[in-house]
Symmetry: C2
Subunit: 378 residues, 2 copies
């Protein structure tokens, strides 16, 4: 049982990508053992503070510049173009210093797209059992099978907590799924969206039409640009809700979880306006969450809450959200007052995950987390 | 970048175990690239009805009888004793036909125990980031990092839903964690436990003292034997609560989820008594869950409910529970009436996961599941 291995090594990033393929049998009449191929990324472990996102790397250290090698049928090694082996028909494995010592892997049926934008590596593949999958810089962003949980919760937790949201800002969320969910709210009159990476938008429109359908809503104003800068220039008190569908709060995205950014968000929100931001996993990142809660407690004079939900293909199987409101009319996030009228949705597709019960349940935290978060927030 | 591969193939079971190790560099003065090792199991995909648990296999097809081969530094293949490579210092990967197309992997620091009982393969390893891990037949049963969620929820969801539980039966649960949690209830006078595999009990006492501490409670009566037979012989109406901490509801364990078993449970419970049984993942096994709910609805004339919770190292990151009560005093599982007095615990260790809020939240289901389950249960 011998495999050949194609290794692609990124020196300065924390990930390796390997490709394992079964040897071709030299006797073509003999049946090959039906082994699935396997690709995996391995990660040097380092503390969060050491991390640099690949977009910060120079060209020499980028994954695309890494060396790839391939063992051929007769055992010789040959060079292979690096752009070829990012993901292959086999298995994709997700590993990161943000969740050291564990990996989640999906069987790949077909690689549909791979590209390198100005900001990140972009991959789309057809998985065996999770539908199509979008991967940015080696990290799963969505799968068709479970994207409903994340998109519906990050959108409706804030929007169902306030009456008649009219003007909404989405930071990130280039796949369009949050737009799709915002569009379910008939009270919304205008949706600004600021996504830094146009390739993510284009790829989503091409490969995830059921997600990117959100772009078809005439209320959407898409801006390709930096969310931090966009918010700094936003008119004071102009939004009812801001949704931050960001990558992990380390590296460049780190500032999306720090005081100046939250101050910009608070400034852009009307009194009693709400923000919902992706806030990692209770099981993996309590230290990060603790800092975010502390910062939000200082800045948002309304309420500050943490919620979480199940997303199987995210690390540890859960993702959390920070939900905060500015000073003004009280917002009780735990008791939604603005139910979704599913019949008003343009697509008329029913909600798959969100309902009012699961909205309230999302704020019930395990004791180990509740103790820490309650000590930081009200 | 070449790896050697040690493959261990189980012909009749659905799993392969592979071991990848980096080639030794022929020049000892040259620094090796610091790659983690990786082991994985691959699974033939088949429907749940085709499945046979390894304990049903004959010796020829058992994993221990499989052939292992290894590529040495110079590329030759050599035989390796199969007993050597079940888990190696590297990575453990969990794959199964019950969750085809995906795998969760943990980095292994040290294999602490591996054995083969009359029923299953038993492995304990020290993981890099999840503490010690117990694996039965290739499937993770518990890790020190997240076992609290499963043990506390499967125990306190039923026991906090009835006043003054006195006599409790645990089926399975050989690690002792459910016993540890039952023992927190001072009203409990007697705990019968029926576990089929003594090796699981012994291994847990040796390697998981914080879990197996439950065995030290003087109220525990441990029976090594078949839970189905135990229940058939149990006195009618004798238990306030039955907790079924079983393996997956396929193969031999399948009958723990079918009508005759639930009928035995219902017979052994007092009027208004409760059962809580492990009931798989909403994301992966809605077909199985639908059948269980239908069966329970026929048999339990009190209430029938499904709850779920987050357990990162279980497939899809969640696990569910069926909670049913017999005809008699009403049981409202969603509103616990029997809070835990943490000061009464023998160990005085606080609960890590369970609290009254998360108890109620566990019954709030995503819309895709609620629709199916509500159509089968009240």
């Amino acid at each position: 049982m011998i495999f050949s291995v194609i290794g692609r090594i990124s020196k300065s990033s924390a990930s390796y990508i390997f490709r394992f393929t079964s040897h071709q049998n030299h006797n073509p009449t003999k049946t090959l053992i039906p082994l699935s191929h396997f690709s995996t990324m391995d990660a040097k472990e380092s503390s969060a503070t050491d991390l640099k996102r690949p977009r910060e790397e120079d060209d020499n250290g980028s994954p695309a510049a890494a060396v790839a090698s391939m063992e051929t049928e007769n055992g010789d090694q040959t060079k292979e173009p690096a752009c070829f082996s990012t993901v292959i028909p086999g298995w994709f494995s997700e590993m990161s210093p943000m969740w050291p010592g564990e990996a989640h892997s999906l069987k790949v049926e077909k690689v549909l797209f791979q590209g390198k934008s100005d900001y990140q590596d972009v991959i789309v593949f057809q998985s065996a059992t999770y539908g199509k999958v979008l991967v940015l810089d080696g990290v799963i962003q969505l799968t068709e099978r479970d994207e409903c949980a994340y998109q519906e919760m990050i959108t409706h937790l804030p929007l169902c907590s306030i009456p008649n949201p009219k003007k909404v800002l989405v930071i990130g969320g280039g796949d369009g799924g949050v737009l799709r969910e915002v569009a379910r709210h008939p009270s919304v009159e205008h949706i600004d969206m600021c996504e830094i990476d146009k390739m993510v938008v284009d790829v989503s429109k091409q490969f995830f039409p059921d997600v990117a359908i959100g772009y078809e809503d005439p209320r959407v104003n898409l801006v390709i640009g930096d969310g931090v800068a966009f918010l700094k220039n936003a008119a004071e008190g102009s939004y009812d809700a801001v949704i931050v569908d960001s990558s992990d709060p380390i590296g460049p995205a780190k500032e999306l979880f720090e005081k100046p950014f939250f101050q910009s968000v608070a400034r852009a929100l009307r009194p009693g306006g709400v923000v919902c931001t992706q806030a990692e996993s209770l099981w993996l990142h309590m230290d990060i969450i603790e800092d975010i809660v502390s910062n939000c407690r200082e800045i948002f004079k309304g309420s500050v809450n943490y919620a979480w939900t199940s997303v199987p293909t995210y690390p540890s199987g859960v993702i959390g959200f920070m939900l905060c409101s500015t000073e003004g009319p009280d917002v009780d996030f735990k008791h939604p007052l603005n139910p979704i009228d599913e019949s008003s949705s343009k697509s008329n597709l029913p909600l798959k995950f969100y309902n009012a019960e699961i909205h309230s349940a999302a704020f019930c935290l395990p004791s180990f987390a509740k103790k820490v978060i309650d000590s930081k927030a009200n």
